[in-house]
């Protein structure tokens, strides 16, 4: 670490947001009256004062080169006084007051390869994580799957023709940095083999008691192997959460043959109509098949299609499944129901069907 210099300051926090707000926002802060969505990717917010703000939303791959950020800055200068923002799903939004600038801006963005859309009943950007780009924990890549899936979904981003919003998220391991656990469709990197204990490294790299304590299922035990203090893993108790690996680097789980992806459906976050809820397991395992993960793409596509074809207006994925029931979801989506779908963790019993509210399909 270099020595700190004299003029070094700390704990200043981020710049105050007011410095970055366009005049129309400063003037109408807290006074917005309503909004309309004149076309996909464009929000028009109208203030009590009558002032209007147009936000133009473009897709972003989230990993952006500074070249691209500078290009965004240039476009912002060109069309909206240099004011722009990013959204909670990592899209970029240009904040315009001149409606005549909307079309040229969209044209420039589209030409540069950043499609405009993601508003209202569309599929917005996939919230995702680091994958093989940066994280040691990743059971799959993030950006590659996102790109492959969104290439097939772009028409749902640039149009607003779905029954409701559809939020896809991806996390490359069970830590779920993408907070995928409440998504309409979640793509999750998973391991399926217990950690390989590197007995020669355990003592140097790990605190054995923390590693033991880290396991949610008591599968990690202290052990003496070839006379050295180490760890043993009870294979049959391990459900590959990697929590022990997080605290002890000598317990890697990555395995090219058995790692892969699980697909989850029906979660949501908003309180609109129904309550927020977790996503549920749809497909326990699909292989890692770079660069385009065709099995994952096809599965997601199929699920989106049956939902789009069958859901009623405003029905999010989970609301739709609630209405038609899980048995019919599995049938329509062409997914085989397996042992793995049935919960067997802590609260498993609460997921069993404990009523006679059963549906029987016509044969």
């Amino acid at each position: 670490m270099a020595e700190p210099t004299k003029k070094r300051v700390t704990d200043i926090g981020p710049p105050h947001y007011k410095k970055f707000l366009p005049p129309v926002i400063l003037a109408n802060y807290g006074k917005w009256k309503y909004h309309e969505i004149p076309r996909p990717g464009v929000l028009m917010h109208v203030s009590e004062s009558g002032d209007k703000l147009y936000s133009v939303r473009a897709a972003s791959p989230r990993i952006v080169a500074i070249d691209t950020v500078r290009m965004f800055a240039d476009l912002a200068d060109k069309y909206c006084g240099g004011f722009l923002r990013f959204t909670s799903r990592n899209n970029v939004e240009f904040l315009l007051t001149e409606d005549k600038n909307i079309d040229p801006l969209i044209a420039d963005l589209t030409a540069a390869g950043y499609p405009v859309g993601g508003t209202a009943n569309s599929i917005s950007n996939i919230v995702h994580t680091q994958g093989w780009i940066h994280c040691h924990s990743a059971a799959t890549d993030a950006s590659g799957i996102v790109k492959s899936v969104m290439d097939e979904m772009t028409q749902h981003f640039t149009k607003m023709e779905l029954p409701g919003k559809l939020r896809i998220a991806l996390a490359c391991c069970l830590n779920m940095c993408g907070a995928v656990h409440c998504s309409d469709i979640a793509i999750l990197g998973i391991h399926r083999k217990a950690p390989q204990v590197q007995h020669d490294k355990v003592k140097a790299m790990c605190e054995i008691p923390s590693a033991v304590a880290s396991c949610p299922n008591a599968a990690v035990r202290p052990a003496v192997v070839d006379g050295v203090q180490s760890i043993e893993i009870l294979e049959e108790k391990c459900m590959y959460c990697a929590n022990c690996y997080t605290v002890c680097p000598a317990l890697p789980l990555n395995n090219p043959e058995t790692d892969g992806v699980a697909i989850w459906v029906g979660g949501k976050v908003s309180n609109a109509r129904s309550e927020p809820r977790f996503s549920k397991l749809a497909v326990p395992y699909l292989p890692n098949n770079p660069p385009r993960w065709p099995e994952v793409v096809d599965t997601v596509k199929k699920i989106v299609e049956v939902w789009a074809a069958n859901a009623r207006k405003y029905e999010r994925m989970g609301d739709w499944i609630d209405r038609i029931g899980w048995p019919r979801f599995f049938k329509l989506a062409g997914i085989e129901f397996q042992k793995q779908h049935i919960d067997d963790f802590k609260h498993a019993g609460l997921t069993f069907k404990r009523s006679m509210h059963l549906r029987y399909d016509k044969e």
Binding site: I12, S60, F72, G82, S88, W132, I133, H134, A272, P291
Partner: protein, 394 residues
């Protein structure tokens, strides 16, 4: 350019969605780190496995967080990414920028790293993706000179984030950005110097639509709402009907409080049955709006699955007026942190802590009264604890 061909990654340059490979390539011939990033990633794509080692502890002087150390497990093959640390830069509230501010950040990052960033990380930070240890202090100095600071990592307060709220949304029930800014500034020490049993996240959403997913991924979720009646502009409702909206089917039948009715002329609501779900408001902008008595609910404890399973946040304070400088919320947070820091286990998030010690005991400890809004329903099991004195009198 990568040092070797990258046939697999190249396939990801095609297709309508913006390509992260193209982003990396934009810099690969200017920057050795990016060139080697392409190389190591192609290797991962071939072998179907990542090539990063477990992070070591690196950071800037006096801070315990803000930097994630990362090293390659094939440094000889790809020396440009031998170190590949990320720097978390605390975003401005609501992710608003000027072009000038963005250029400043780009310039700093151009001088000291790969020139790749995440706009933004899942917690909300600007992420500078890929640098080596000796650049960390210079980056920090230049950032602070430009008015920016690092975000959180490790067992500290993480970078708070918020929806755009009153800046751009008619439904914001409180000023999310002001609140986010105030919390971030007030708790700088907690943010930069890990002293908790585990991480603690704050997310602020202006209404129950929860556009920052706060209920799913914040230890403290602050979600705007109103406690009086929704406001209905009957003329505007009529316009929605005239436009062809089926008010009964689309709005009334979807109301979870079963409290709306529409007789073709007026939309009426049974106020005390309204669940504040936002649906009627969402479905008919301009015609229906949140009430006037606005504030927020405070919910506690959401998190990802490690280790007892994921949690959504649960109601702690069903309604609070949001009045700067939010001393009440600060005091509550401090009470929570005190109890959790005292009795929480290492790597036990506050949501898990509450489940372990029991919500009732937790409330006692932080000095809040139980409220039926805190539960979906009262207990079903008869396993109630009592603490009666020797003579059995309470």
């Amino acid at each position: 350019m990568a040092r070797k061909p990258t046939p697999k990654l190249d396939q990801l340059e095609k297709g309508p969605w913006p390509s992260f490979v193209r982003e990396i390539k934009k810099r690969a011939d200017k920057n050795a780190t990016c060139a080697d990033l392409l190389g190591v990633l192609e290797k991962s794509y071939e072998e179907r496995v990542g090539h990063w080692k477990h992070g070591g502890i690196v950071g800037v002087f006096g801070y315990g967080g803000g930097v994630i150390g990362r090293y390659s497990d094939v440094p000889e093959e790809f020396p440009g990414v031998a170190h590949f640390h990320t720097v978390r830069v605390n975003q401005p509230a609501g992710w608003f920028y000027t072009s000038a501010a963005l250029r400043t950040l780009c310039d700093i990052w151009d001088r000291h790293g790969s020139g790749l960033l995440n706009m933004h990380g899942s917690t909300g930070d600007i992420i500078f993706l890929g640098t080596s240890t000796e650049h960390l202090e210079p980056i920090f100095e230049e950032l602070t000179q430009a008015g920016f600071d690092l975000g959180g990592s490790g067992s500290d307060l993480r970078t708070p984030s918020c929806c755009c709220g009153e800046a751009r949304c008619e439904w914001a029930c409180y000023d999310t950005m002001a609140f986010c800014q105030e919390m971030t500034m007030h708790f700088q020490d907690e943010l930069h110097r890990p002293a908790f049993p585990y991480k603690f996240k704050i997310k602020a959403a202006g209404c129950p639509n929860d556009c920052v997913a706060s209920i799913a991924r914040a230890d403290l979720s602050v979600i705007g709402t109103w406690r009086d009646c929704i406001e209905i502009d009957q003329a505007e409702v009529a316009k929605h009907a005239a436009k062809g909206n089926d008010i009964v089917k689309d709005v009334v039948m979807n109301c979870p409080g079963k409290c709306l009715s529409w007789d073709g002329k007026a939309l009426t609501v049974v106020q005390e049955d309204c669940k504040h779900c936002m649906h009627c408001i969402n479905a008919m902008p301009k015609a229906v709006r949140p009430g006037k008595e606005r504030g927020a609910a405070l919910l506690l404890g959401s998190k990802a699955p490690i280790m007892e399973g994921a949690l959504l946040s649960s109601v702690l304070v069903p309604f609070i007026k949001m009045e700067p400088p939010y001393d009440d919320i600060k005091a509550l947070l401090e009470a929570i942190w005190e109890v959790w820091s005292e009795d929480g286990k290492n790597r036990e998030r506050v949501g898990e802590f509450i489940q372990r010690v029991g919500m009732g005991n937790f409330l006692d400890a932080i000095g809040l009264d139980p409220d039926p809004s805190m539960v979906a329903h009262p207990r079903e099991n008869p396993y109630v604890f009592y603490d009666l004195g020797g003579n059995g009198k309470e």
